[in-house]
């Protein structure tokens, strides 16, 4: 990087040529008063406090003036002091002076400036005008807005517009009446505010302030427990209670930013509903038991169980170490490979599909590369709701000039930022993507060199394109031909192009085909193996990537090493010192069928809630009742746990050490902030205790660090990962040895396939399993709310519940008109498998003929409706498409 030499107040400074004077000064520990400057935002120079004298002549604002070689800067002269004094006095004249009771106290920039400049109290009194007290907006459950304390620096306005991309407020009115206001002065809760708290975190005074949050006594650096983005957080602890969470500015994933769940959704940790002691069901009721009693019972029942009668469901919410221990237990102690987890319900096609075409089923590139892409193609991902911090990056890319193409049946938030929006009929992704590829080939926009050098099987793929002409695509997808062409041209020509997708692609009976279509289009345009390109499945849960990596899957050991490959089988038998089965186990969806068939009789369930998350939930309820013995290990008594014979209380992420692997394959340290609540224990320890009671070896771990050592010794892609190395940063796998710095980008020279080439896959269009008909005329698709996570076990414990209270059936005004249904009324949604009541939301976000629901609310269990028709390869159920009718109950 180029540097320049400047002199500030007689001090020689060498600084980056791209810095401003203010940045150079602050970097070198020289304070220049400033209010409207924030390091994350573009400078605007409106507070006039950072005024400096340049080269002995002119005055200018230092926040907007770039440094120049030889520049001489004075931060203080008589004239500057005068200007600053006037500016500060005008701000202070009507500012409340109750600093001690203000939440901004000690962090307030105005306080700092006042003490720097020195305020004459008598003069201030004479300046004080009759004050008008404006009402404080207390409508948000997490923060208040007090306009009386606002200094109009506009940091919140720029944060909301440029960081979050919401633009919920702006300067309103004029002169003395100026204030920061939402549209029409609406209270926060009724405004477009997404409660991310980014403005609150940046407010330099006490105007936007968290509701009564005391200062933490200590802070612990860890990783957010919600989605797969894996934001770094500092948990604030006071006594034995987690009271706050803030973004870790040094974490490369989120760079200090968070969403509403990460910043405020920690209320579940110390919630009174937490399980604090083991429970054993006696005569139909749960009774508290000692660990000894519970573990003895579990060990005795497990010991009597034959290998094929046992199944374990591990958890994408638990750490890598927890997952490793659960799969090891299942394989080494119970003698079966039937261990799976909810990745089956979200990204199994990504693992299966990308493994075929690229050789590795994970995000090819990194989150930090998104902002440098020239084209972003977001298909089947409502990024703003499900991966909010990645959505910030997408919006940043758009701000930097990237073309955003959004393909989604619904008019999701990202559509507002997109240049090209494709609203295709749910389940027609293959038709859409293949038609785009046909346009690319017909117009000769493909990357011939890349195809020739790096790919194989192009001819077979090329032949299969023939069927996807524009007429067919328009008819099938409902997207106008011209738009398909425009999207194809943009993605093929605006490079680098990055493709993002999520469950809109995977949760189909043709989910694997959808994934292959995404890899085809990336290969065709040469958008793989370069920065800001690639095929990037956004993983749903905090550690769903890790749970897959660590072998909580029925066909592979940790590191995707196949159980039926003889040398792998031998390697693990030797390492674990026991006989292992070389027969792949059955999947999540198949486990419930096997329980119905009475082949699986004992289920060990760690941190999952299939009663709400599994498609065709009635089928699951009936299965859970049929089990001979059912153990649930969780932090709350979930809807699933109610069916259990024994419930074991687990420690939450804040109460244990470990690692999570985020969606970009980054392994990051999770650190214990408080002791396990009540009598709960970390998951890995509970499983180890069961194994030890069953007199099995290989479970004598004192801490998770030792487990990671064993993982590294057996898992090539995690070979170089140790707790010591993870101390100050995450590492992205493959990280084969301790010399490796990890791999931010996959396939840069070779693909991970056997031949080293990217494989084109010929595809056919297959309609969804259940299409609308006369009896069930609407398509039901499932989605996520920003305010809740998965089955909402963790998010329905406080303020998030205020932000979104109940299940909503979103329906287009046209459909509502036809059915004579009104916004806000309770409706009954009926499918072939069951019925559910929920509140109707009439909105044109939902396309005609499609309704959508989340699955966060136990009182409206959406998955009672969904179809359990599965993808033949990945065995994922088709939760994105089923046929329903909506009626008055």
């Amino acid at each position: 990087m180029d540097t320049v030499n400047i002199v500030i107040d007689g001090v020689d400074i060498e600084t980056g040529a791209d810095k401003t004077i203010l940045e150079a000064a602050l970097d070198h520990g020289i304070y220049i008063p400033h209010l409207c400057y924030h390091k994350d935002l573009d400078p605007v120079g409106i507070c006039r406090l950072c005024m400096v004298e340049i080269d002995g002549r002119r005055l200018d604002v230092s926040c907007k003036t770039p440094v120049r070689e030889g520049m001489r800067v004075r931060t203080e002269t008589e004239e500057i002091t005068k200007i600053r004094r006037v500016a500060v006095e005008l701000l202070l004249a009507n500012h409340p002076t109750d600093c001690l009771s203000c939440s901004g106290n000690t962090k307030c920039e105005l306080q700092r400036i006042a003490s720097y400049i020195g305020i004459d109290d008598r003069r201030m009194k004479s300046l004080r005008r009759k004050t008008v007290t404006l009402p404080i907006d207390t409508s948000n459950p997490y923060f208040d807005y007090d306009p009386n304390r606002c200094v109009l620096c506009g940091i919140c306005v720029r944060t909301c517009a440029d960081v979050v991309g919401v633009s919920n407020f702006d300067f309103a009115y004029r002169g003395y009446d100026s204030l920061i206001s939402t549209f029409m002065g609406k209270p926060m809760i009724e405004s477009r505010c997404v409660s991310c708290g980014e403005c609150v975190a940046r407010c330099p005074v006490g105007a936007l302030r968290p509701k009564a949050v005391p200062q933490p006594a200590r802070e612990v650096r860890t990783v957010c427990p919600y989605c797969g983005v894996g934001c770094g957080i500092w948990l604030g602890v006071r006594g034995e209670t987690v009271i706050a969470s803030r973004g870790d500015p040094d974490n490369v994933v989120n760079k200090g930013r968070l969403c509403v769940k990460g910043r405020f959704g920690h209320e579940f940790i110390n919630h009174p509903d937490r399980l604090t002691a083991p429970l054993i069901k006696k005569n139909g009721n749960f009774e508290k038991a000692s660990w000894d009693e519970a573990l003895d019972l579990v060990a005795a029942r497990f010991a009597k169980c034959k290998p094929d009668e046992f199944a374990a469901l591990s958890s994408a919410k638990c750490t890598n170490e927890d997952n490793y221990i659960v799969q090891k237990f299942t394989r080494a102690v119970m003698g079966t490979n039937t261990v799976d987890h909810c990745a089956r319900l979200c990204h199994a096609p990504s693992v299966a599909g990308l493994a075929q075409s690229f050789g590795s089923g994970a995000m090819t590139n990194s989150i930090g590369e998104i902002r440098n892409a020239d084209c972003i193609f977001a298909i089947g991902t409502n990024t703003t709701s499900a991966h909010p911090v990645i959505a910030y990056e997408v919006k940043e890319a758009v701000r930097r000039g990237a073309v955003l193409i959004v393909a989604n049946p619904r008019r999701i938030d990202l559509c507002e930022y997109a240049q090209i929006v494709l609203h295709h009929v749910p389940g027609t992704d293959v038709a859409l993507l293949m038609a785009m590829m046909k346009v690319i080939v017909d117009e000769d926009l493909q990357d011939d060199r890349f195809i020739e050098k790096r790919c194989e099987n192009f001819e077979a793929f090329f032949e299969s394109l023939e069927r996807f002409d524009l007429e067919f695509a328009q008819k099938t997808t409902g997207v106008p031909k011209e738009l398909i062409c425009e999207a194809a041209r943009s993605y093929a020509t605006r490079k680098p192009g990055m493709l993002l997708y999520a469950m809109g692609i995977t949760q189909h009976t043709h989910g694997t085909d959808n994934v292959l279509a995404t890899s085809n289009i990336a290969l065709l345009t040469g958008n793989v193996g370069l920065p800001s390109t690639g095929v990037n499945p956004l993983r749903g849960q905090n550690n769903v990537q890790g749970a897959c990596d660590l072998g909580a899957l029925p066909n592979v050991y940790p590191g995707y090493q196949k159980v039926d490959r003889p040398q792998i089988h031998t390697k693990f038998e030797e390492a674990w010192g026991t006989k292992l089965s070389d027969k792949p186990g059955i999947t999540h969806t198949e486990i419930f069928d096997a329980i119905h068939d009475k082949t699986v009789k004992v289920l060990y369930e760690v941190g999952e809630n299939p009663a709400l998350s599994e498609a065709n939930a009635n089928h699951v309820y009936a299965a859970l009742e049929k089990l001979d013995f059912f153990v649930v290990q969780d932090i709350f008594l979930t809807e699933t746990a109610r069916y259990a014979d024994v419930v074991l209380p687990a420690a939450s992420f804040a109460e244990k050490d470990g690692t999570f692997t985020n969606t970009e394959r980054r392994v990051q340290r999770v650190r214990k902030a408080i002791n396990p609540v009540g009598d709960s224990k970390p998951d890995w320890l509970i499983t180890c205790l069961i194994a030890k009671r069953m007199k099995k070896h290989g479970f004598d771990f004192d801490n998770p660090s030792q487990i990671m050592e064993e993982i590294a010794s057996l898992t090539p892609s995690y070979g170089g990962i140790t707790y010591k190395r993870l101390d100050d940063r995450g590492l992205q796998w493959p990280c084969p040895n301790t010399d490796s710095e990890g791999t931010p980008m996959l396939h840069s020279e070779f693909f991970a396939t056997v031949t080293g080439k990217g494989k084109f896959m010929p595809l056919q269009y297959k309609p969804s399993y259940e299409l609308p008909d006369e009896e069930y005329p609407l398509i039901l698709t499932t989605e996520r709310s920003l305010y809740h996570f998965h089955t909402a076990t963790m998010t329905r414990k406080g303020g998030l519940e205020v932000l979104r209270k109940c299940e909503l059936v979103e329906m287009n005004p046209k459909d509502a008109g036809t059915l004579g249904l009104k916004n806000g009324e309770t409706v009954r949604v009926v499918s072939r498998r069951g019925e559910v009541n929920a509140t109707l939301l009439v909105t044109d976000i939902s396309p005609v003929g499609v309704v959508s629901m989340t699955f966060h609310f136990a009182e409206s269990p959406t998955n009672v409706l969904t179809s359990d028709a599965i993808d033949p390869v990945a065995k994922i159920p088709e939760t994105k498409v089923c046929a329903v009718r909506v009626e008055r109950p």
Partner: protein, 160 residues
């Protein structure tokens, strides 16, 4: 849901203006000329058309005195706050009208009859203090005259 004719007209007005953020103020003026104020719905539509956040449009609309966010009354009263009128007691006139009608500057009475605004100068200093009602000038006012004027208008309004 079918669009009402009003909505069509609103769209016509908006789409009749150039498709550029630079024309925001012209668009706001055109909409206000037709409807007398800027409704919530109209701002949403302008926001869609110009791809501009509605909070920003609200900021502009509240910055300029000429824009109203509430429907104007049947009788639109403008009180001159120019220097000459001020010297001749326009502050008192404004207070009296506000009190009589129970509204503040920028407001519209509940019955929809009156709206009250101030202007910087009406250019009729010779007859200060002066107000206009629906564009008609009333000069050399005092509190008593204003009170009876308002009463008369109230009767007129009730009668229709």
């Amino acid at each position: 849901m079918t669009q009402s004719t009003e909505e069509f007209m609103l769209d016509d007005i908006i789409r009749g203006c150039p498709h550029s953020r630079d024309y925001l103020i012209s668009i706001l003026q055109a909409v206000q000329d037709r409807y007398g104020y800027l409704s919530r719905e109209s701002i949403y539509r302008i926001s869609d058309y110009l791809d501009l956040p509605e909070s920003k449009i609200y900021g502009v609309a509240t910055f300029y005195n000429q824009f109203r966010l509430k429907p104007p009354g049947k009788f639109q009263i403008h009180v001159c706050r120019g220097t000459a009128c001020h010297v001749k007691g326009s502050a008192g006139i404004l207070d009296t009208i506000g009190r009589e009608l129970g509204i503040e500057v920028g407001g519209t009475s509940k019955d929809g009859l009156f709206s009250l605004d101030t202007v910087a100068c009406l250019g009729a200093c010779s007859i200060a203090p002066v107000i206009t009602i629906n564009g008609k000038f009333y000069g050399r006012l005092d509190n008593k005259k204003v009170q009876s004027l308002v009463k008369k208008l109230k009767r007129q309004g009730d009668g229709t």
